[in-house]
Symmetry: C2
Subunit: 224 residues, 2 copies
């Protein structure tokens, strides 16, 4: 995107679409994604409803753009945080920090992906691809840790046997079962703290969720 | 509630309020909590908007009723699952199973509490009391485990020092810092799996989240 010279018409179209998306993000934050109204956005922009529908054919198409923008931004953020030459433990910790910062920077963006699903809306297949790319960062690192440490004491054998036979989600990643298990474990632990924090459940509890997060990250990376 | 004989008028009022709440739950599931419309409910019930406002003065009052009904039901469910005479580890595992079943039984009910906050809506103070009562079940059990096992290897010392000095959320519970840490840890790990599962993030990943949950429960209860 952005390298080829675009016609004035194409540039204008992109500009209007960006403006619509900016209004949509404001709506997601202030009235909620499930109350997103294309007509309200048209009104704010001083254009007619039908004119707006020339840029986004439906509420769902607009939500899909927001979801994919958010997902791509999260993936870019995580990839930028991870230095390929660092040890796998360092890369995992960097990704974990990046995820939490990203979520706290714009909670409604995190929640559009990981919060309450918008009723009647089905996410796009590209979201699955991006989710898998995020998981790949974890699988790469845990596979590397696994290769370096060799066999570890048997942990959650049921789960590992199951994952060895149910690894479609990991696509063609060659990570061995302990790495599959540890990648999923880190992923759910990160979201366990972040989702409660972002939804305000720690507000008023008077402790620093950052320290809880750090302890969870350490234990999920360090424990076999 | 329900023991004292109520006047026909009071019973009728309660009946109408319950009917309104039933419609509201359907709306939460089908259009989302942030799009909740009292006028739409009035229309469905064949009454006027102003007539409905005699039962709930505002959208927020209605949401509060739903949130508190959900929270109370969760607390009742967890308390019913926990047998006081069981060992603390057994009680914790029972509560964890009850939480996941409760969430999967009615995802929109779980998500109204733990999902995306409704923009512009502030939860009632009673919710904090119920959240603390849920936490008390965990704190009781971990304090008992802590007392039985004695000093454990130093784990997440930063977090424990912090929690020792920031324990307002645990109210007057005498749980020592390791128990505070382990209660919070179990709580976030449960929600880490359940929130992703309920929001559909494991759909299509082709593995059984129940086994991941079981492994997380085991490790959060068993590890120091």
């Amino acid at each position: 995107m952005g390298d080829a010279v675009k016609s004035p018409r194409a540039r204008y179209r992109e500009q209007v679409r960006d403006e619509i998306k900016a209004h949509a993000w404001t709506q997601v934050a202030t009235t909620g994604a499930s109350a997103l109204s294309l007509n309200a956005i048209a009104k704010q922009m001083g254009i007619s409803g039908p004119a707006l529908y020339r840029y986004f054919r439906s509420r769902d198409e607009l939500i899909t753009e927001l979801v994919l923008d958010a997902y791509r931004d999260l993936l870019d953020t995580c990839r930028a945080a991870v230095k390929p030459d660092d040890a796998p433990e360092v890369r995992l910790a960097a990704m974990a920090s990046a995820l939490r910062r990203w979520a706290l920077d714009a909670p409604h963006r995190y929640l559009l992906i990981y919060g309450t699903p918008v009723p009647g809306y089905a996410g796009p297949p590209e979201a699955t691809t991006i989710a898998a790319a995020l998981m790949t960062i974890l699988l790469d690192a845990f596979a590397e840790i696994d290769a370096a440490t060799g066999p570890v004491p048997e942990t959650a054998a049921d789960l590992e046997d199951h994952l060895a036979a149910h690894r479609r989600w990991a696509a063609d990643h060659p990570a061995p079962p302990p790495a599959l298990r540890r990648a999923l474990r880190l992923w759910t632990r990160l979201h366990g703290v972040v989702s409660l924090e972002v939804a305000g459940h720690f507000t008023g509890m008077n402790f620093d969720p950052g320290l809880l997060y750090a302890a969870e990250v350490d234990s999920a990376i360090g424990a076999p």
